[in-house]
Subunit: 188 residues, 2 copies
């Protein structure tokens, strides 16, 4: 069995190594900020050989992209509560929890950094944001189909997500439930 | 005359070196992203010795902080047009021009990165933001004194500045005059 086939096998050693390498990246971003560590340092922290990382991801940039995509896609699935206000409040609360959690700032900073790290990061960041905007738009479309008056996804981005991201990035937290609900209520 | 006294003398060689080093930092952030270059690379690009940078700024982090503070303070002074709508539209247009200009993304990314680079950057970033919020609040206070109904500075941050920053950071520009005016009108 080739190395590549092993890497694709779900579960087992490959999955454990993947999880450990991802956690090492998240920890290093938290401690040092984006860009201030090498593949060798990720490998040492994860307890794997440098060559394992290069074989599986190819470069530090590709690894960082993979971490950001995995984290941001795995978290905050789109809610379906039956009302637009319920959906948006739940969604906003999920995002707030995700970006103020222990790894939250690291993940937000990584998502931001992806827009400025060469073509691969740029494309990955654009794909990630386009996918999230599509999911968000589906949630808003469901509300419209129920006869509710709904903003578009860019309105949610500008007036619910952007304020939360900027307050986290600028260290102006915490995002209290009242603050987050207020952003949603103001938009609706 | 000691090196330190020379560095403090306004104009002349010291000012030219300062400007060249600042431009080198801005260029390197634009090309490679924050964190992906060394003091040696800044020095080579600016045409000065590494030791000149260490003597004047002490560290790469202190240099980056100085660049961000200088750029963000020099740009977009607070307008005083006589009406709140005029002030906010002018202010928002200035910020939009600043962050979508040739070095804009680099400066925004640097401001964001400062919140995650050790104590010195953290404090510098916090000082910078506090000073801008004070300037903004003064503009809003003038409107209140004229009898206008004004939002607070956090409302401007959340609903005018944050959407523009996030759209630039996520590469979702351009910020058209209609879009920027729309953010202000919506807030008022």
């Amino acid at each position: 069995m080739s190395e590549r086939q092993q890497a694709r096998r779900p579960g087992g050693r490959s999955a454990r190594v993947g999880a450990e390498v991802h956690q090492a990246v998240t920890d290093l971003i938290s401690e040092r900020g984006y860009g201030n560590f090498t593949v060798g340092e990720v490998a040492a922290r994860a307890g794997v050989a440098d060559s394992s990382i290069y074989r599986r991801w190819g470069s530090l940039e590709a690894l960082l992209t993979d971490v950001a995509l995995t984290r941001l896609n795995a978290q905050s699935p789109m809610p379906d509560t039956g009302s637009l206000a319920g959906d948006l409040r739940t969604y906003a609360a999920n995002v707030a929890r995700e970006i103020t959690g222990p790894d939250g700032l690291a993940v937000v900073r990584l998502a931001v950094a992806l827009s400025g790290t060469g073509q691969q990061g740029l494309q990955a960041g654009a794909d990630l944001r386009a996918e999230r905007m599509r999911q968000l738009q589906s949630m808003l479309d469901r509300a419209r189909e129920r006869g509710e008056h709904a903003p578009d996804a860019f309105g949610v981005l500008d007036h619910v997500l952007a304020p939360m991201y900027i307050r986290v990035l600028f260290g102006m937290g915490p995002l209290t439930p009242d603050y987050v609900d207020g952003l949603v209520d103001r938009l609706l």
